[in-house]
């Protein structure tokens, strides 16, 4: 059983069998959020890349986006791992597994939505590698995951955060 399977199973069990919202958030919040330092925005999207990555985070064919569905935050004032100014990350979301072409390894990617402003409208990207139907919510990119945020449910854009290696 891969790590993704374990994550999916855990998330699926919790969403599929109706655990309380509080405890769901309690677990999901372990993904973590931190305040970013003010930063000049030039090439912010690229600056979010780790060493050991190649490609253009503003392009839909970027490796992390293998199961994304939405506007790329990298085109909207955020990056693959940061929300645009004034938007709030969704604490819960769907996950996928994507292969990093630079090291040939599979990584679990969390597609957290950024929320509280209306749809950014730039760099629409829909890819469905491993995407599940919505009755398997933790693997479905058809759901507006902003529903869990403090600022409400309004969808702005989607990130693609590395959670870790998939195996």
């Amino acid at each position: 059983m891969t790590r993704l399977d374990r994550i999916m199973e855990r998330m699926s069990r919790s969403t599929a069998r109706g655990i309380s919202r509080r405890s769901f958030f309690g677990r999901a919040t372990a993904f973590g959020f931190a305040a970013a330092m003010p930063l000049l925005p030039v090439s912010r999207a690229n600056a979010a890349q780790q060493p050991g990555e190649t490609g253009d985070p503003q392009s839909c064919d970027y490796w992390r986006y293998c199961a994304i569905d939405g506007f790329l935050c990298s085109c909207c004032g955020g990056s693959t791992s940061s929300c645009p100014p004034g938007t709030e990350p969704s604490p819960i979301t769907w996950v996928g597994t994507c292969r990093n072409p630079a090291d040939g390894k599979d990584y679990v990617i969390s597609y957290n939505d950024c929320c509280g402003k209306s749809g950014c409208g730039r760099c629409m990207c829909n890819r469905n590698e491993g995407d599940k139907p919505i009755h398997q919510p933790s693997g479905s990119n058809d759901i507006n995951w902003c529903l869990g945020t403090q600022v409400g449910m309004i969808y702005n854009c989607s990130t693609a955060v590395v959670l870790g290696a998939a195996d």
Partner: protein, 380 residues
């Protein structure tokens, strides 16, 4: 149009009507027929990049004219069409400051004849938000109750009394998803582990959960959420193109039979899209959006529509599409029309459903149309 009639009479009475000076007009409000006509169709638009401004357009596919529209707030889903075609209800979500502030979910009732908002019960602010499917807010056969699927991510259903135009209540669903009605007071839900969960409504609309089936669907070839109701059975489609026919007649849902949309020689063809299939009750024909592609292409648009005789489980026809389509629907009368739309495009394509021939394109809608809803048919 009294003014027009009067003018026409006046002009007929004069010798040179073309030279008669135009007469002052009165500005009027249009009305529609009391009942949704067989070739009228609703086009739902989620307005993806301006999602606060969801809407649905009512179109007469025969004349090619737009008849009117409704505005329906953030993340527009689908309409809850009364079986008699005289009214409908729309689940909607509003925030006090557009993108911010207190969330209010309502179900707004309209008459077809005037498209004017009427009763508007407030429902729990938990309505599912995302890509819409037909099973997010179906009306039960017989038309007494309508159900709204909730996801917060806790899952539940809100029951609406469609006659009283009031909310009955909200009921937990043990974490299973969506709503597949099988009778006036009976439905099932689909669970993440490949099982189906049965449920019933009592006379007042209160939901009681029944038994859960064993695991019916495989993990490595899951069924999509895009089941199709034939009027008597639900058909579910797997990513690879299997059809599972559900037997809902007993306490526990089961698979009545399974067949495949493709032959082994056609295995690079798969069903896909958003509104993937449509069933015509009179002829027993199933229309499925098909495309060529491998794994993970289950949301790709269809490049052809494959037509099946469901009773015989055989393909009748392949309809090649000029351009790919993400949604397909069929009118239920005996001169059926086949409708397709495509995300990113602005037209409705209208075909003869029996021949597949393109009749007309009606342009200027969208560009993020989702579920096509033809005129409803009463339950048998």
């Amino acid at each position: 149009m009294k003014t027009f009639t009067a003018l026409a009479a006046l002009c007929l009475a004069t010798a040179a009507p073309a030279l008669a000076q135009l007469q002052p007009e009165e500005l009027k409000k249009e009305s529609l027929a009391e009942t949704m006509q067989p070739h009228w169709v609703w086009l739902n638009d989620i307005s993806f990049d301006r999602m606060l401004d969801g809407r649905a357009y009512l179109v007469d596919a025969d004349s090619g004219q737009m008849l009117g529209m409704i505005s329906s707030g953030y993340g527009h889903g689908i309409l809850m069409l009364a079986e008699d075609g005289k009214s409908f209800a729309v689940p909607s979500t509003f925030l006090a400051r557009g993108t911010r502030g207190e969330r209010t979910d309502v179900v707004t009732f309209y008459k077809t004849s005037d498209l004017t908002p009427g009763a508007e019960p407030v429902i729990p602010a938990k309505r599912y938000n995302g890509m819409p499917f037909q099973s997010v807010s179906p009306v039960m056969p017989g038309g007494r109750f309508g159900l709204v699927y909730n996801f917060t991510p806790e899952q539940s259903v809100t029951v609406i009394d469609m006659q009283a135009q009031k909310m009955v209540g909200e009921y937990a669903t043990s974490g299973c998803s969506l709503i597949y009605p099988t009778g006036p007071s009976k439905f099932f839900l689909i669970c993440g582990d490949g099982a189906l969960q049965s449920a019933t409504l009592d006379a007042e609309g209160k939901v009681t959960l029944g038994k859960t089936s064993k695991k019916l669907f495989a993990d490595d070839d899951p069924v999509t959420e895009k089941g199709v109701w034939t009027g008597s059975q639900w058909l579910f489609f797997t990513y690879s193109g299997k059809v599972h026919v559900i037997d809902h007649s007993k306490d526990v849902p089961a698979i009545a039979k399974s067949w495949s949309l493709t032959t082994p020689a056609e295995k690079d063809w798969r069903p896909g899209a958003l509104q993937a299939a449509a069933y015509h009750r009179g002829t027993g024909r199933l229309y499925v959006l098909m495309h060529q592609g491998g794994p993970d292409t289950h949301k790709d648009p269809g490049t052809e529509i494959w037509v099946y005789d469901v009773a015989r489980q055989t393909r009748i026809e392949r309809i090649a599409l000029e351009t790919p389509a993400l949604s397909v629907a069929v009118s239920q009368d005996d001169k059926p029309l086949l409708y397709t739309t495509m995300m990113g495009e602005t037209d409705l394509k209208v075909r003869d459903a029996l021949t597949g021939k393109l009749i007309r394109k009606i342009d200027g809608f969208g560009p993020t149309m989702t579920i096509i809803q033809p005129a409803p048919v009463p339950a048998k």
